[in-house]
């Protein structure tokens, strides 16, 4: 690496420094836009005791579901975990701690974490189990709870295209949590389908500037589909 060039040579190098007990912020929604090769590398490394913030926890044998097989996750911060039998089993037995967080709150916690905002008030979750123990304030006659920002030792994310400086473009709904996840990690690792030379991306079309990205790698993706629904012609 030199200057602004963020490209690393291998997945091993991409996650160098990831240690037991760290917190990871991960992009993706279901299996859409997940950093699938970075997750496989975490499995290969065998890192344990991880806290992972991600909207979902993959499905059995795919995405973050892979990290449950060897019990690498200690705590999961997610909004919806209903697609994963192994997850449910580990949660019910108490091996896996789960902090259910509303989807919009989770996105905003990551955004705030990356933007240097320590906490924010939101109406979401007021009067529900999510609001228990949290500070409540009234603004203009409505109740809001204080939610704290989320930051990670690492973030792992997937984008569509990048230049070598880490300027990123996402594709369709594979964008989802990826931009916020990237901003919230001390070391932001991004895998992409294509890396182009600097100058080849139109600055107006860049979704996330490379300033947020620390390590960049090009991979190949299976892009599994969770619910393949089609209509007939």
């Amino acid at each position: 690496m030199s200057g602004f060039d963020k490209v690393v040579g291998s997945y091993e190098e991409a996650l160098e420094g990831l240690n037991d007990g760290m917190t990871i912020i991960a992009g993706g929604f279901g299996l859409c836009g997940i950093p699938e090769n970075l997750i496989k590398e975490i499995k290969r490394r065998g890192t344990k005791g991880l806290t992972i913030a991600s909207n979902n926890a993959g499905v059995d044998g795919k995405g973050l579901g892979l990290l449950l097989e060897d019990k690498q996750i200690k705590k999961m911060i997610a909004s919806y975990v209903g697609e994963n039998a192994l997850f449910e089993a580990q949660m019910m037995s108490g091996e896996l701690e789960v902090e259910l967080t509303p989807q919009g709150t989770l996105a905003e916690k990551m955004r705030a974490g990356g933007a240097g905002i320590p906490a924010f008030y939101t109406a979401t979750g007021y009067g529900t189990p999510v609001g228990e123990g949290k500070e409540v304030r009234e603004f203009n006659g409505r109740h809001y709870i204080l939610e704290e920002a989320l930051c990670g030792d690492f973030s792992i994310a997937k984008a569509w295209k990048a230049d070598r400086y880490g300027n990123l473009m996402f594709r369709k709904t594979a964008r989802n949590f990826n931009p916020m996840a990237i901003t919230a990690g001390k070391i932001a690792v991004v895998e992409v389908e294509e890396i182009v030379e600097v100058g080849q991306l139109d600055p107006d079309e860049i979704h996330l500037p490379g300033i947020y990205v620390n390590r960049l790698i090009q991979g190949t993706f299976a892009k599994d589909i969770e619910q393949r629904t089609v209509r007939s012609a």
Partner: protein, 218 residues
């Protein structure tokens, strides 16, 4: 007769207005997209980051990068836009979505809704539901009026953990359309062939029955 899933969806669609941005929850609410009246423009918001959701793709159009909030493959309509999850929930929290339709396990006459977990039995998570009920003003909850064993789901007070507090003003069940005002359910419409007595018997929370309760047009 209790409404079928399609009839529920038809009645939901009568809440649409021309130019509405609408978020439809998974299940029956999603079916309402099939009943948008001819000539009316409605734009569907999918909270994973799409405004202008279209129908399911043809086999050759399937794109793993284009899914809805239920993780189903979808298409985009002309004029669609794509964005990240923070932007998506800014739209929702900021009150920019005109109508939200979602399902529930229980609703009570204080406007509380329970829809995301059954302690000890099912913990799937709330997804975007807590944000949607807190952010939207115009919400329709669709659900069955009672359990299969005849236990009311329209309660004096929800028994399950809440998804939102005091935020529900309109409920559509397989038997009736009801509003919630000042701590009471108000019967607005009944399903074709369903008697007021049946509805009264299956509504646990306080229920006001106006003089005239028309049948739904479905």
């Amino acid at each position: 007769m209790a409404l079928t899933r399609d009839q529920l969806a038809q009645r939901v669609a009568q809440e649409f207005q021309d130019g509405y941005y609408v978020n439809l929850g998974i299940g029956i609410p999603t079916l309402a997209a099939n009943f948008i009246p001819e000539g009316m423009q409605v734009m569907l918001q999918s909270e994973n980051g799409l405004l202008g959701m279209g129908q399911f793709p043809l086999e050759e159009e399937v794109d793993a990068d284009l899914v809805n909030a239920g993780k189903q493959t979808v298409t985009m309509v002309k004029g669609a836009s794509l964005f990240d999850s923070a932007e998506s929930f800014a739209m929702i929290r900021g009150g920019h979505v005109d109508l939200t339709v979602l399902g529930a396990f229980e609703v009570d006459c204080q406007g509380n809704i329970a829809s995301y977990m059954i302690p000890g039995k099912m913990i799937k998570g709330m997804g975007g539901a807590m944000d949607l009920v807190a952010g939207a003003d115009n919400i329709v909850v669709t659900m069955t009026h009672a359990s299969k064993s005849g236990k009311s789901k329209l309660l004096a007070e929800c028994t399950l953990p809440l998804t939102g507090k005091g935020c529900i003003k309109r409920v559509l069940t397989d038997l009736a359309l009801l509003d919630i005002e000042d701590g009471k359910f108000i019967l607005r419409e009944r399903a074709p062939g369903v008697t007021i007595e049946e509805i009264v018997n299956l509504t646990e929370g306080e229920l006001i029955v106006p003089d005239a309760v028309p049948e739904m047009r479905v």
